[in-house]
Every structure is written in C-alpha cells, then in structure tokens.
C-alpha cells in the first residue's frame, strides 16, 4: 500500500494565505490531477507535500506515517519522487550521469571510502546502477541522448529526463509539476501516454499538477480543483467538468473555449 495524503494543509507567505486547508489523496496506482487557475496555490501545495515549503497547519502522510516534519531528502528516500515546473536538470552533466546520480542515491551500497580509493566494489556497484539507469533510459526513449549534456536538450527531452531521473530513485509516488509547460500539443499527448505506461508498468501513484486540461482529463481518474488556495471541487473528470464552480473559477464565466493556456504561468 502506498498512499499519499495531504490533510488540511495551510501555507502562509507573510500575510497571504497561499493554500487554505487543502486536503487531497493520491491512492495507490492511481493518477490524480490537481488543477486550478494561475496563482491558485497548486505549486505551493505541491512544494509543501515534497517538503520544500513548511505548512503552518495540516499534515502530510505517506502510507499512514506522518512525514510533515521531514526534510525533502528524507521524504524522497521514503519514496516521493518529483519533477519541476522550471527544469532543474544537472545541466552540465550528461543525461546518463543525471540518471546515475538518482539511481545511486536509491540503490548504491557504495561507501565514500571505497569510492575515493576505487576499491573493487566500486565498479561492481557502478555497473549495477548504470544498468538501472539504462533500463529507465530505454523505457523513456532517452538512450540516443545518453552522452549529451543535458543543458543542450530540447525542453521536451528535458522533461522526459526529469521524469526518468525521478523514476531511477524507484519512487512509490511521483509528483509532476506542470510537465506539459513548454511542450507542443503532440509532445503533450505523447507525454500523457508515457505517464499512463509508467503508471501501469511500475504501479506507482502519480500526482499531476497541470495546466493543460486535455492532458488532465485524459489521464487522470480523479481531479482536485484548487482556487485561491481552497479546494473547490473533487471528482472524476466528468464530474469536475460539470461542476459550475469549476467552470467559473477555472474556465472563466462566459469563456467557453480556451481550457488551456500554459504560457501565462510564471
């Protein structure tokens, strides 16, 4: 059982309440969407879940254990993987090295002394972790870029690389922060298919913070809607789409097209 729960999370920036008493659940093996207009507090809630922002109230639980007080790196070791809205690649390193860092963090049993003295276990452990990295690379079609410096990759490949890097840590829950920003329609569709494949193959839960309604509607089984820091709706895609408060908050009163405008997000 791997279930992520955020209970009544409230985040404050000075006098501003960015997230107000928000609750959401990411059940095992499920893709859950979190949507909302610009500035609704999606990324803030997301960061509170990962531990990069401390909530003033509320709790984050993983598999029933309270992890609210843990540092981001501890949460990651417990199985929370994430990507970033603004790419955070190790940009001067190759694609393979990006993945190796992740795989070694989760899997390597190499201690620092054996590493610095190049003892025989070092190549053994390196081989093992490289195999993991290459497997993920094949899975996400990144093998062609293995020796490229990640700063030189196009945005779409960079997003794949972040996804691959998170996968290399073998997470239980994957948190994706606006993965479609900077992607065109085709790339977004392909990304959605990849997500579903990963979800099925690895059996991991995914929380998708997204701007692109088409993507969310297509891949998510449940959707939470955040507006002005408050959770205003929750349900299946169909239910959420039918909800009048969502339409007014997210789509705009009279506006009947324009579900997605990924460009405006800063």
């Amino acid at each position: 059982m791997s279930e992520l729960v955020a209970k009544g999370v409230t985040v404050r920036f000075g006098g501003l309440i960015a997230v107000d008493d928000a609750t959401l659940r990411v059940p095992e093996r499920e893709i859950v969407g979190l949507i909302g207009p610009n500035g609704a507090g999606k990324t803030t809630l997301f960061n509170a879940i990962c531990g990069f922002i401390e909530p003033v109230r509320g709790a984050i639980e993983l598999d029933g254990n309270d992890i609210t007080k843990l540092a981001p790196s501890r949460r990651a070791r417990l199985g929370i993987g994430r990507t970033f809205q603004k790419l955070e690649l190790f940009h001067r390193m190759t694609v393979l090295d990006n993945l190796l860092v992740a795989a070694e963090s989760a899997e390597s049993k190499l201690d620092i002394a054996s590493d610095l003295l190049h003892l025989p276990r070092r190549p053994r452990e390196e081989k093992r972790c490289e195999d993991i990295a290459r497997k993920v690379m094949d899975e996400l079609d990144l093998a062609w870029a293995a020796d490229r410096r990640s700063a030189d990759l196009p945005v779409g490949t960079g997003r794949m690389l972040e996804l691959a890097r998170a996968l290399c840590t073998n997470p239980k829950i994957l948190l994706l922060d606006e993965p479609s920003s900077g992607l065109d329609t085709n790339e977004t569709r392909a990304f959605g298919q990849t997500l579903q494949r990963i979800n099925a193959d690895h059996g991991i839960g995914i929380l998708l913070v997204e701007h692109d309604m088409d993507l969310v509607m297509e891949v998510c089984r449940q959707i939470y809607v955040l507006d002005f820091g408050r959770m205003i709706a929750h349900g299946t895609p169909a239910e959420v789409a039918a909800e009048p408060s969502v339409r007014s908050a997210y789509l705009g009163e009279e506006d009947d097209d324009a579900p997605a405008s990924p460009s405006a997000r800063g």
Binding site: A71, S73, F84, E88, L116, D147, D152
Partner: protein, 640 residues
C-alpha cells in the same frame, strides 16, 4: 564624559572616511557586479602618487590631491573597467573577484618597483590644530574637515543618484543591465563611470587616511579593505546608506576600542580582527532574503565545451609517465636547490588540488586555505616539539586538526553561498592570522615553531619523494572523486541543490564531506611545506595568501587535476628558473598580477584548459584520440 565624546568624534572622523569608501565600493559592486578587493591597493597606489607629487616634486598639496583624485584615479578606473572587467562580465562573480586580487598583486609589485618597500609619511591636506567643541571636547581641525569632506562627498553622490539623468541611468543599470541597455542607455559608459567614481573615492580615502597612519604597500591595503568591506557588509553589499552608516559605526567602535581596550599586543590584533568579527556576525545573521540574492548563487565558470575527455586510458598513461618522470628527476638532477623547488612546487600543487576538488569539481568556495594550513602546521609543530611525538604522528594529527574547521565551514555553506561564503571564509583566514598565528603562545616568540621532517625522510632527496608520494596520493583521490559517485553528487549539487534534494540526497552531508576533505588536503600540504623548511612560521599563513592560492589555482585551471599540478610546479620553479636574474625576480609580482588578470580575462578555464585543448588536437592528428563526447557546444543561455 568629554573624553568619551571626543573619542566618539575621532571615531566619526575616521569612520566618515570608511563610510565614504564603503559607499564607493558598493556603488561599483552594484553597478558592475565586481567586488573590488583591490580597493585598498588602489587607494594606497594613488596615495603613493600623491606623495610623489606633493613631497617629491613639492607641488602644492591641493593641486597634487586634485590631480590624483580627479584625473589619475578615474583614469585607472575607466581603464580597468574597459580593458579587464567588461571582458569577464559574463563570468561568475568569483572570477572577477580573483581578478581584483590580481590587481592587488600587480599594484603591490608596481609600488615595490617604483618606491621600494619603505614606509612614507604623507602630509595632511588640512591644517593642524584643534578646536574646542560643545561639551568641552577637543577635536583636530583636520579631523573636522575630513568629516566635512566625507559627508560632502556622500551628499553629492546621493544628489547625483537621486536627481540627475546620469543618476537615473545608474539606478537603471543596477536594476537590470540588459534592459537598461535596451532603453538606449550607454551601459558601458555607466559601468566605466562607476569604476571611475569608485577608484576616485578610493584615492580620496587613501589621501585622507594615510596622514594618520604610515603609507606602506604591505599592511595598509589590507587594513583599508578590511575596514571598508566590513562597513559595506552592514548593508550586505546592497545598500549605500547602510554602507555609509556601517563605516561610521566601525570608526566609532575602532576609536572606543583603541581608547578603552587593552593596549597590549593581543589587544592590537583584536583591534585588527574587529572588522572580520563584524563580517562574520553579519553574514551568519544574514536574513534568508539576502542570502538568496544573486550574489549567493552559482559561480562556476561557464566552460565553452563539455569536457572533451581523452579516454581514461590515455589520461592514465599521460599521468603515469608524468609522475614517473618526476620520480626520475632526483636521479639525474643533482642540484639540491632544483630538487627543493620541485618539492615545494609539488606541495603547492596539493594545496591547489584541494581547491580544484572544492571549487572546480563541487562549485563551493573557500578563501580560508591559510587558516587550515596554519592550524594544521602549528598543531603538528607543537605535537612534535612540545610533546616530542614522532613527525609522522604530527603529520597525521595535524592534518586531522583542520577537519573539524572544514566541517564547520561545510555546515555554514548550506546557508551561505557564493560571494558571501567567500567573504566569510576570508574573514576566518584573517581572524586565524590575527588571533591564533599572531599569538606568541601559538607561533612562538620569533613567529615560528620548529617542525622536524619525519624519520627516514630527512635528506632533501628523500623529502622530495615524500612530497611526490603525497602528491600522487592526493591526485589519485581527486581523480577517483571526480569520476565516482561522490563526484557525481557534488557536481549535481553544483548544478541544482533543489533537484539533488528531491532525489533523496542530503546536501549538508556532502558539503561537510567536501569541505572536510579539502581542508584535510591543504592541511597536510601546510604541514609538509613547514616540514620542508623544518619550522612552522606565522608569515607562511598570512590570510592574503589564501586569495593568491585561489587566484593561481584559477589561472592554472580550476577544473582539472592537471591544472593544479601544472600551477604548483610552475610557481615552484619560477623562482628557481630566474634565480640568476634579479631583475625578473623583482618584477615577478607584476608578472604574476598581470598574468592572473589577463589570463582570467582571456580564458577562465585557465592554462591547463588551453594546454589540454592543444593536447587533444595533437591526439586527433595522430588519430587515436577520437573524441568520445560530442562536438563542442555553445553554452545554453540563461543557465547560470
């Protein structure tokens, strides 16, 4: 009461000079992103010119000062900006910081060359005599006028920034230089003007301060820069008014401490350490918003291409052949002085290696090198001399003694980064110099403590091999570090701490590790260097050398083990090669200063980067050095 009042007023007099100078420093920094550590050196250099005019040529004082402050100093500023700093403006702050260290060395060299190293007394611009003021306190007329000039200068500056078109231009450039450029502002002219104003104020500072002190090229530049830096730090290098207030505050503190504090030797060194205490406290207390300013960001040099490594085998064989050659040298070269210089160079190379793993591989920075080296060397010397333990034990325990200090800096490095971390570690180096190494119970009455060489390595040739072994071990560890898991994590932290954390890696743990390892390495080198001379000496661990070490490491090539080795051997051998040419040795400071600044302006990857590119080209010609990695790629924009 009136004693206290006049103490405060005296403090305000010198404080107003620091205040004006700090304003100049911050103005230049904010406009051009260059923190000029050479500020004190420029002040002293221009004051020497003032001395030349007023005392030697007997020109009128005001004319001499006018020419220096209004013509010569601004010209120097314009020149430095257009010829040096504008060329490296895209590079991270650390590069320009080290280039300003190059200015210190260069100007010191020029001063030695022209005026020798004697100290001079400088005539005051203002008449002597004292006036009675309220409360019955007295104050020198000159001090009163200094206060007037400093406040007047600051007021003029403030009015200029506030009300003139030029002032608006300044503020636009400070806010956003590229955008200011798009608004049809001549940003180059403004950055040149910022430098000119800065150097002009520096000259004024020197001319106002020097009559109270002695003009000399060794102590005064650091005295000036330490007080000005501390003043500027009150506004965290960001605020002009706070920098001004900081100067006044520091002046008053200094004056009160001098009047009421202990007047013994330790009291004096405490006084000299005061600005560094202030820097340390201010930085440790820095609010998060300030710590995260751009000044605290990544400062790793943008290299032009992905390291196009030759294959592991090629590198391994080049290294093996090179070290084997080094091992043969004592067998064929019988000159003791050559062997000694080489051994010195190899030990220096270990110091540079400690910086390569810290800064080149991990993107961290430390200007505290001499603090580690000195701590280790004196610990080792006392273990060997006082306790009578073997020199081997002294070497090991002494090196370990620097590790907790390194670990502490590692912990601090989680909070503070970039320029602020550089300033903090520099403050550590100065405090270690003043409070520990200057203390006779630590460094002995003559400033040195005997430290014998380890048994079995007493002869110079034997000691040569000890140095070689130490260098090879350090180089192998550094190479393993770079190629292995630890190095990958450190490089990852360098590129994105946030992403590294998100992968379950403790950034604190690795920062502590790399600072400890680097401290251990340069500590061992500090002990070996002392052992070679058979004594640990205070003068070998002057904080200034920390800056020089990092500058040489950058010039040598901060990103390659070979760069450290090349830099070490080069500077170890320099003296030896030119031993018969005193004229060149006289000029070596100038050469080095010029070399450092020019090399950095031309190629921030350093000498070794250039050499290796050449080497790779040769290998390609012979066809067996096929590039394993893709063709050179331009650095993607906006990554820094």
């Amino acid at each position: 009461m009136d004693v206290l009042l006049s103490t405060i007023l005296i403090g305000l007099a010198s404080g107003s000079v620091y205040a004006l100078a700090a304003t100049g420093l911050v103005l230049t920094f904010k406009t051009t992103r260059v923190l000029n550590l050479g500020y004190g050196a420029i002040a002293v250099f221009t004051t020497f010119i003032y001395w030349q005019f007023s005392v030697n040529y007997r020109w009128p004082l005001w004319l001499s000062a006018g020419i220096v402050v209004l013509v010569i100093a601004p010209a120097i500023g314009f020149f430095l900006d257009s010829q040096l700093f504008r060329r490296i403006e895209d590079q991270p702050i650390v590069i320009s910081l080290m280039a300003t260290v190059g200015i210190i060395v260069l100007l010191q060299g020029v001063i030695y060359k022209i005026w020798k190293s004697d100290t001079r007394t400088v005539p005051s611009l203002f008449p002597q005599g004292s006036v009675k003021i309220v409360g019955g306190a007295t104050l020198g007329v000159d001090q009163l006028m200094i206060i007037g000039v400093a406040f007047g200068g600051a007021a003029l500056l403030a009015l200029m920034l506030r009300y003139t078109r030029l002032g608006v231009g300044f503020r636009a450039v400070v806010d956003n230089r590229p955008v200011a450029g798009l608004m049809a502002l001549n940003t180059n002219f403004i950055s040149g003007l910022a430098w000119a104003l800065g150097t002009s104020i520096a000259a004024l500072t020197g001319i106002l301060i020097a009559p109270r002190l002695l003009l000399d090229p060794i102590i005064l530049p650091f005295f000036i820069i330490s007080f000005i830096l501390a003043s500027a730090m009150v506004g965290y290098l960001q605020s002009l008014p706070l920098a001004f207030a900081g100067g006044l505050l520091l002046g008053v503190i200094e004056s009160i401490a001098a009047r009421y504090g202990p007047s013994s030797g330790s009291g004096r060194s405490l006084g000299r350490a005061t600005p560094f205490f202030m820097v340390t406290i201010l930085l440790l207390a820095a609010p998060r918003r300030l710590r995260l300013l751009a000044t605290g960001g990544s400062f790793v040099v943008k290299t032009r291409e992905l390291a196009a490594h030759a294959s592991r085998n090629v590198r391994l064989s080049v290294a093996t052949v090179f070290f084997a050659l080094l091992a043969f040298i004592p067998l064929v070269v019988s000159s003791i002085s050559w062997n000694r210089s080489l051994a010195t160079g190899m030990i220096q190379a270990i110091v540079f290696l400690s910086l390569v793993i810290l800064t080149g591989f991990s993107g961290q920075i430390s200007l505290g090198t001499t603090a580690f080296m000195g701590t280790a060397a004196f610990t080792a010397a006392h273990i060997a001399t006082d306790l009578g333990w073997s020199s081997w034990a002294a070497l090991l325990l002494g090196s370990l003694a620097a590790v907790p200090a390194g670990a502490l800096i590692g912990v601090i490095a989680v909070r503070l980064q970039g320029l602020y971390l550089a300033m903090l570690t520099l403050a550590f180096a100065f405090m270690a110099q003043e409070l520990f190494f200057g203390n006779s119970s630590i460094s002995g009455r003559e400033g040195s403590v005997p430290l014998p060489r380890p048994s079995g390595f007493h002869s110079d040739v034997r000691f040569y091999y000890l140095a070689l072994i130490a260098l090879v071990v350090s180089a192998v560890v550094a190479a393993n570090l770079r190629s292995g898991r630890t190095g990958r994590v450190l490089a990852a932290i360098r590129d994105s701490e946030t992403a590294t954390r998100s992968l379950g890696i403790s950034v604190t743990k690795y920062k502590v590790l790399i600072f400890s390892l680097s401290a251990f390495m340069c500590a061992a080198a500090g002990i070996l260097a002392s052992m070679q001379k058979e004594s640990a000496a205070r003068l070998d661990f002057v904080a200034y050398y920390s800056m020089i070490y990092l500058t040489i490491a950058i010039v040598g090539g901060l990103f390659h083990i070979g760069g450290a080795v090349a830099a070490g051997l080069f500077f170890g051998l320099f003296q030896q090669v030119f031993a018969g040419h005193p004229a060149i040795l006289d000029l070596q400071l100038i050469f080095f200063g010029l070399g450092a600044t020019v090399a950095l302006a031309k190629n921030p990857e350093g000498m070794f980067g250039e050499m290796r590119r050449g080497g790779n080209a040769v290998l390609r010609v012979f066809g067996n050095g096929k590039r394993r990695r893709p063709e050179p790629v331009p650095v993607a924009g906006g990554q820094e």
